[in-house]
Structure formats: C-alpha cells, structure tokens
Symmetry: C2
Subunit: 147 residues, 2 copies
Amino acid sequence: MEQQLNLVTLGVGDLAQSRRFYTDGLGWSPEFEVEGEVTFYQVGHGLLLGLFGADDLATDATRPLTKGNTFSLAYIVQDRPKVDEAVARVRAAGGDVLKGPVVGAFGGYHAYIADPDGYLWEIATNPGFSVDDDGNTHIGSFDAEEA
Amino acid sequence: MEQQLNLVTLGVGDLAQSRRFYTDGLGWSPEFEVEGEVTFYQVGHGLLLGLFGADDLATDATRPLTKGNTFSLAYIVQDRPKVDEAVARVRAAGGDVLKGPVVGAFGGYHAYIADPDGYLWEIATNPGFSVDDDGNTHIGSFDAEEA
C-alpha cells in the first residue's frame, strides 16, 4: 500500500459560511465547486482540501459523527482491484472496514475504513481526479460508467 | 495567504497501537520518529502525516478535544512575520485564534486557529521541516534559537 494522501475533506456545518472563510476570508481560489454541495481547494502538489456538508459526509461514510469533527482522508487509486487490495491490507492490519467497497454516490468505487482511533480513510477510484506533472490537481465531472 | 497544507497530525489514543497499524499493518515507513512521542510518514509531495498523542495535541492547541477527533492541519511558513501576517488574515476573516503566536514546545513560532467548524489549523515556523525539489520532506531536529 503506497504512502499517500490525496484529499482531506472537512465535513462542515454550513458550507456557505465555510466557503466565505476560505475563499473570501483567506483569499483562496476553489479548484472546483458545485454550489451548495462541495468546494475543493488545491493546497499542495496533487493535494486537495474539500469542504462538504458534515451530514452528507457522515451519511456517505455510514457513520454519524459530531458536527465539526467529521472529516476524512482520501487514498485514491487507479482501478477497482487496487481498492480491493488496499481494503484487504487494511482489514489484515486490524482496521475497521465501515463500508464497501461499493460504487458510491459520486460514481467511484470506494470503501471507508477507520484507523485505530476511528479516523476515517476513504479508499477510492475517482476518475474525475487527476494530477499533472507539475502537481496541479483536477477534479470534476466524469463518466461514472468508467469509474 | 498561500493555499497550502504541509502536515496533517492525527491525535491518537495509543501511539504504539497507531504506529503498528500504519507501519507494520500498512507497511508504511516513518520519515522521522521519536519513540513514544511522535511518528511522521511522508504521504505526498512535501506532505507529512503525523501521529501524536491526542492529549499532547489538545494541550498544545490549548483546546481539550474528544479522543479520536483531535487533529490539526499545519500551514508552515518561513519566518515569524509570515506567521503574524497569516494570523492577522485569519482574524480578519473571522477565524478564532486559540493560541499565540508564541514559541511552542517544539521550538517553532506558532499559533492555533479554528475555522468556522472548529477545525484546527496550526500556523507555524518549523525550521526542522523542509521539502526538496523532488517533494521529499525532511523533519527532525534543529537549533531552536533560529526558529
């Protein structure tokens, strides 16, 4: 299993308020957003910070969590067998598999696992996510049938 | 304020157990560790994942948080005036400054702020942290007098 973290998603109570803080307040430019649903900022080489409704994230991860403390770390791989392999590795390591792998609402094939403290990792294909040679991330729409 | 995230620190209940999960379980190699105190893994270009006692992290951030939900995102800058500038920007954006800027236990000059959902960002100088042209991170000891 590679040592990688591609995306940090913060579950937020009020997306408009959080967006104002990061975009208007800190002056950050979204890389991609769907109004009222999700906002992504590039915060490093191949790295995104996402703002997503805390309730939506908890539902997606099938684990209700306290508002303000719901977040996930994403490990993005190229194909479904790599998701299965990583999930098997996590299971063997004693990690708790909360969900999947299944095809998620966003079209990718994904699983949620919890580390020993309950920190959420999403292991997923995400064909809408790519990183070019300069580290620029791209995330957006894609053909779900190819996920 | 740059769009950047340099370090994700997970506050853990049992460092030895978490270290076993990531190192022995997932097969990840620590970039740097102080036995019984902290372990860092490189998880991307210029990006580290840290494991640190949840109680220690909560104490450092001057905010007791629930075990398993204590984590921080670090924004590392080159000098103290840049810490002050970023903190001023956050304050103007309505962010809550929980601590500092002050010289922290690790020797760097840092502040903890909370975003609208209470997510912790540490804004800091960390002269023990560097990233080379290939994205390899280095973190470790340094001369605290220069921080």
